[in-house]
């Protein structure tokens, strides 16, 4: 394999000959600072304040919510208290919700990836009018608001919906899928498919025909071409699609609210219940941080793959 790494030339480096940052690098830093500051102030700072509230710091910015909320644990050490964390871990609902959330996320992401790969590979290897129509149809959910899709799926699979009505004519008692985890999976796959297809199909289109044809000339079967050439070369878009899809499904709210059971439900709905209906903001924050920790784990995989691909292409 020819190495694609290019040698770093002295002209491209950002250090001056005498050492220390050059004026160019300072200007670059100053230009990238405003968006970084905005993210730090409007996203990072509230997360930090929320973390302190979950640990029982009820003064300063947390004073108001501590007055309004119920079952607030105030700190009893210098580092805070684990009272709220204990409440959540010992709550009979939490582990059921966590299990359902992880199960739905893994299953939905897998199904989304399989479907997106199938459609994108069909378009790449065979192409033609049918493939174009298939891809266009699968992008349609992107333009439908999630609430509308949730309600439409509810009507379609409900007790008197199309599926049950259709199968009754053949004497089959089709199950009512609403208020079950299956309906959540159907809903999340439906809404996450467009983004995954866009990413993966564009990644596959970027692979030159020459590679596929030369592999076929060497006698590779279609499966070998897919497994050894197409998927490895489209690895980055596939990982991007997988991480964004799974993080999105992890925190989803509307689909599980309308299509899922009341308990166990997904953590997005439970966090909203605890914050709003049960007026327990501290415990809802604890659950939010647990979801955040899981999402961070997925994000680490994404960043690692990005760094790897940047190194391979010589940008890093």
């Amino acid at each position: 394999m020819i190495s694609l790494r290019s040698k770093k030339s002295k002209e491209g480096s950002l250090t001056t000959h005498g050492g220390g940052p050059s004026p160019r690098s300072l200007v670059g830093l100053a230009l990238s600072l405003p968006p970084l500051l905005i993210v730090l102030i409007f996203v990072g700072l509230p997360i930090l304040i929320g973390l302190t509230f979950s640990l029982g710091f009820t003064t300063g910015p947390n004073r108001v919510i501590a007055i309004i909320g119920q079952q607030i644990h105030k700190k009893n050490h210098w580092w805070g208290t684990l009272g709220a964390y204990n409440d959540v871990i010992h709550d009979s609902r939490f582990f059921g919700d966590l299990r359902l959330t992880i199960f739905v996320t893994v299953l939905s992401t897998t199904l989304v990836l399989l479907l997106a790969l199938a459609i994108a590979l069909y378009q790449r290897l065979i192409g033609g009018r049918k493939a174009a129509v298939l891809v266009t149809l699968s992008i349609v959910p992107l333009f439908v608001p999630v609430v509308i899709s949730a309600w439409a799926i509810h009507t379609f699979y409900g007790g008197d919906g199309f599926m049950r009505t259709f199968f009754t004519h053949f004497g089959i008692n089709f199950p009512t899928l609403t208020s079950t985890p299956s309906a959540i999976v159907i809903g999340t796959v439906w809404t996450s498919l467009p983004f995954a297809i866009l990413m993966i199909s564009s990644g596959l289109q970027a692979i030159p025909d020459a590679l596929i044809e030369s592999a076929k000339d060497c006698g590779a079967s279609v499966f070998r071409v897919i497994a050894n050439i197409l998927i490895p070369l489209a690895k980055t878009p596939i990982i991007i699609a997988a991480s964004f899809t799974s993080i999105g499904i992890l925190g989803s709210f509307t689909i599980p609210l309308f299509l899922g059971p009341n308990q166990p439900t997904m953590l997005g709905v439970e966090i909203s219940n605890f914050f709003g209906a049960y007026n327990r903001p501290q415990q809802s924050l604890v659950m939010a941080f647990i979801v955040f920790a899981i999402a961070s784990g997925i994000a680490v995989l994404y960043v690692r793959s990005n760094i790897k691909s940047a190194k391979e292409s010589g940008r890093l």
Binding site: R93, S179, N262, Q263, G276
Partner: protein
């Protein structure tokens, strides 16, 4: 990278934009003849205030102006609660003088509402004392009750008491539903009513007026009854509709023959044609389904308490209450029927308005919603 000639105008532009942002600080509260009203509810309440109450108030008190801010479905309730609490803590103007919204009871429980006295607001003498006390500063101005809706084609004689209803549910599996209490008040009312079946009158009253965590152990029996209903309610698998609207839809499409609904939402649906005419409502007894008063609140830190008191007192007058009863809202009044227009109140002949069973204090209600979710659905 930037030419030297660009740096000066760029810096000037940045400074100018910051100055403009700084100067657009909202103007301070106008003279005391303007009353700021904040409404967090559905569109029918917005119409009630904007089209009916405010014009009538301005006719009665021409020196006053009323400015209405509307928030649909309470989307910003949490933010508004926090804003008013912060203003109270910092002794600043909260920007609102009178609130009509579900979160008034939360503000009252936190001690942030002005407590009305008959001296300054004489019309509160006409109110039900228990309902007034439960507001903790909130002033009840209209009510609606939860009622039992039934399909009159399939159900010829609806149940008259709670025990009859529970027996009917078991005799007709899959034909009754109520929504999850954390999603809507109509389902919450059914849950609280079943719980109240096993509580004494004294205990019920305590739970309405003060936070009572020690009484919550007595909820166990009611929760067990509800859990046993899981195999008889719609779906027969311990799943319940998410909110009020879904229960109304299930009734209208004939999926269920009976369900609990808010009286005003039901009347509005009938008028709009989304509820077929063969669905009727009835009240049950022993205990009856709870009613909800809607509370007005005057924040302690409001800068125009005089105007807010005047408006709130006027809303409790027979003139305003007649408007609430007779308009499209079909709301229940909160003052005795004999003070009102007999034609408008003919529809309420059978309903005991002043003895509507109150819902629990918000702290207890939130605890009940949480306990229901952990002991009933899916078990």
């Amino acid at each position: 990278m930037f030419k030297k000639s660009m740096k000066k105008p760029l810096a000037l532009f940045a400074a100018a934009s910051l100055a403009v942002i700084g100067l657009t600080v909202p103007a301070s509260h106008a003279a005391s003849s303007t009353i700021q009203v904040y409404i967090s509810a559905d569109t029918n309440i917005q119409d009630l205030w904007v089209k009916t109450l405010v014009p009538a108030f301005k006719l009665a008190y021409p020196g006053y102006d009323v400015n209405v801010t509307f928030d649909l479905h309470g989307d910003h309730d949490a933010q508004e609660t926090a804003k008013i609490t912060a203003a109270a803590v910092l002794h600043k103007d909260p920007g609102v003088d009178l609130i009509d919204g579900g979160f008034t009871t939360t503000l009252g429980a936190a001690g942030l509402l002005y407590r009305p006295t008959p001296g300054l607001m004489p019309n509160i003498n006409d109110l039900n004392k228990t309902v007034l006390a439960a507001g903790k500063g909130g002033i009840p101005y209209r009510a609606s009750s939860v009622l039992l809706a039934y399909n009159s084609t399939n159900v010829t004689t609806p149940p008259a008491t709670l025990d009859d209803l529970l027996a009917w549910i078991k005799a007709h599996p899959g034909k009754f539903t109520y929504n999850a209490p954390n999603g809507g008040g109509s389902g919450y009312s059914f849950v609280q009513t079943v719980i109240d079946k096993y509580l004494s009158d004294a205990d019920r009253k305590t739970l309405v007026v003060q936070a009572a965590p020690e009484l919550q152990t007595k909820w166990a029996q009611g929760l067990e009854t509800l859990r046993q209903l899981n195999k008889y309610t719609y779906g027969q698998n311990g799943t319940y509709p998410a909110n009020n609207a879904e229960t109304l839809k299930d009734l209208a499409t004939g999926l269920v023959d009976m369900g609990t609904v808010w009286s005003d939402q039901f009347s509005s649906a009938l008028k709009a044609g989304t509820m077929p005419a063969n669905i009727k409502v009835t009240a049950i007894k022993n205990p009856s389904l709870t009613g909800g008063a809607s509370y007005l609140g005057i924040p302690n830190s409001s800068v125009n308490k005089v105007g807010a008191r005047l408006l709130a007192n006027w809303v409790l007058s027979p003139a305003a209450q007649n408007l609430i009863v007779s308009g499209t809202l079909n709301g229940f009044p909160v003052i005795p029927l004999n003070k009102l227009d007999p034609v408008a109140t003919a529809a309420f002949k059978g309903v005991d308005i002043l003895n509507l069973r109150a819902g629990y204090l918000s702290a207890n209600a939130n605890d009940l919603k949480s306990k229901w979710a952990s002991t009933v659905p899916g078990k």
